[in-house]
Symmetry: C2
Subunit: 347 residues, 2 copies
Amino acid sequence: MELNERKTKILEAIIRNYLESGDPVGSRTLSKYLDIKLSPATIRNEMSDLEEMGYIIQPHTSSGRIPSDKGYRFYVDSMMADREKEVSDMHEMVVEKAGELSELLKQVAKLLADNTNYAALISSPQIHRNKLKFLQLSRVDEGNILAVIVVEGNIIKNKMISVNGEMDDDTLLKLNLLLNTHLNGLSLEEINLGLITLIKERAGIHSDVIAEVIDAVADAVRADEDLEIYTSGANNIFKYPELADNQKASEIISTFEEKNQFGHLISESLEKEREGGDSEKKGIQVYIGNESPIESMKDCSVVTATYELGDNMKGMMSIIGPKRMDYEKVAHALKTLQEQLDTLYKK
Amino acid sequence: MELNERKTKILEAIIRNYLESGDPVGSRTLSKYLDIKLSPATIRNEMSDLEEMGYIIQPHTSSGRIPSDKGYRFYVDSMMADREKEVSDMHEMVVEKAGELSELLKQVAKLLADNTNYAALISSPQIHRNKLKFLQLSRVDEGNILAVIVVEGNIIKNKMISVNGEMDDDTLLKLNLLLNTHLNGLSLEEINLGLITLIKERAGIHSDVIAEVIDAVADAVRADEDLEIYTSGANNIFKYPELADNQKASEIISTFEEKNQFGHLISESLEKEREGGDSEKKGIQVYIGNESPIESMKDCSVVTATYELGDNMKGMMSIIGPKRMDYEKVAHALKTLQEQLDTLYKK
DNA sequence: GTTAGCACTCATTTAATTTGAGTGCTAATA
DNA sequence: TATTAGCACTCAAATTAAATGAGTGCTAAC
């Protein structure tokens, strides 16, 4: 069967109506709501077809229809195609440049949640970095020296190392020199076991300090460890009856508490963006129900967007709500923040 | 009216019964449950008295009684008095020393929540620190220098400062010297405006760099900013019907999401501990219903405990559940972790 | 191809009834 | 005087029954 123009119109009307009301929509309602003039009976026939084609579902024999995941998918795809719709009821979202990056991200999450009335999350930007840029040991007090490590992307890592007393300024200077001559500018792959053994040898009795420093360097270069996730508005899900029963709410809340469950989503989203190439959509992805990589989101829709912060620092933000979320509004909100973040650090 | 022995026994029986079942308890049930032999009628008379005295409440005319906040308070107080009860059904809680403090705290929160089936939170330890211990500027690349600041308690703060090109190694050395001679070992109060102006004067054209450094120092010394709060098991509240309706759950979840609302609780708890002195209770505090400083916890009980991590680093942990929580178990869990944390960093 | 008409379905709402745990009071009992 | 048995009464909660109404599929007429 073919999805002709009339069927398309009816399907869209069903979805739009359901997005607003949250109730199954029937033929009589549609007959009034549609711009083309058709009797309820005709519409019923069309609806029957649409159901057979899998776009809509009848919760029980004598109720109206609601969109299936396939139906939402159709709607979202066609909606995304024609850009720039009017979006109502959004406050001006203005990101204020915060001192700390974490403050900024918290702010963004809150803006997204407050403006859309859905739950929101944002990941810290993942920095492409695997070159050591700066390394320095300094004495802090008698027993402790501090290793400061800076890697590409100006990520700073500190490590306090305790030494058993006897290390004079001269030795410290030598160790600094040793480390810098051998390690500076190297990538993680280039710091291999041979090199490490060499440095340790040269360090003589202080090889244990070197070992700790090298550990810290490895830590600083490894990316995944400091993926931070900020969330906001998880309690918004209580506004949507279809998500607010104990069972579902508990699962969703639990995911928002153990934020690491979003890890998959973030990497998948960044990956798709990288390969996707469809620059029109600006890395906006929609996961409807079971399409989502997160099990507990099977009754939700998840809309993600990537953002860029300065040089090659990419992160991901996302809005999570019921399947009948206002996709236009959400996409618009994400795009707005995308742009703001984009420009924010580009002066 | 006096709370004689028999009344006490009945009151305790009511509360214990209610803690288990969550249902209002009536005279017939009590008559079976009590060890002293009394007819339901007698018990009814006593219950009537207890109600008049404010220890129990009748949700409606023909229902059993449930404890009032005053009743819980009585129970908790007398429970806390006789120590060392058998606590059933607790797994061995073992804290594994983690590399990062934040990992440790997350682990503790999870342990508490998983073992008690209530929600749990823990604050990062608040360090007494207001002396500057170490300060150093280093060049990271052409345009950027990095300020590393260490304050008492080995809290490290980094600040990247961009300079417009012309600063040679010599100047950097001078600035380092200037800052160290003037600031080292000083407390926040001693770094006053006069001193700041003096240093800026001496720094000449680089006074703007100095300004940024001093800002960063102020940040590092100010404690409140990096109060971190880790939570776990917020979704456990769904296990208790009296908290699981949308309205209440939403409020509680929202508090757990905006963790900063716990700030009051933490400072109040640490304060009470400091002045309290009652070393027997080891800083365990119980807030029942409205006693809690947090509005949204009015239908919950909040049990807090302070912990000490090494030298003078005090933090607070807390368990939040329904008023009919298993106080014994909770207190025991908190005490167990208190001890473990205590010894963990004391070697 | 479209629509009016009709019998049928079924979740939801409303009302009526039943059940049962619990109470307070009074009078008898120990 | 303290305790208890007995009884009428209350009321939330569960159960049942009936009514409502939005919606459907099918058929025959337009």
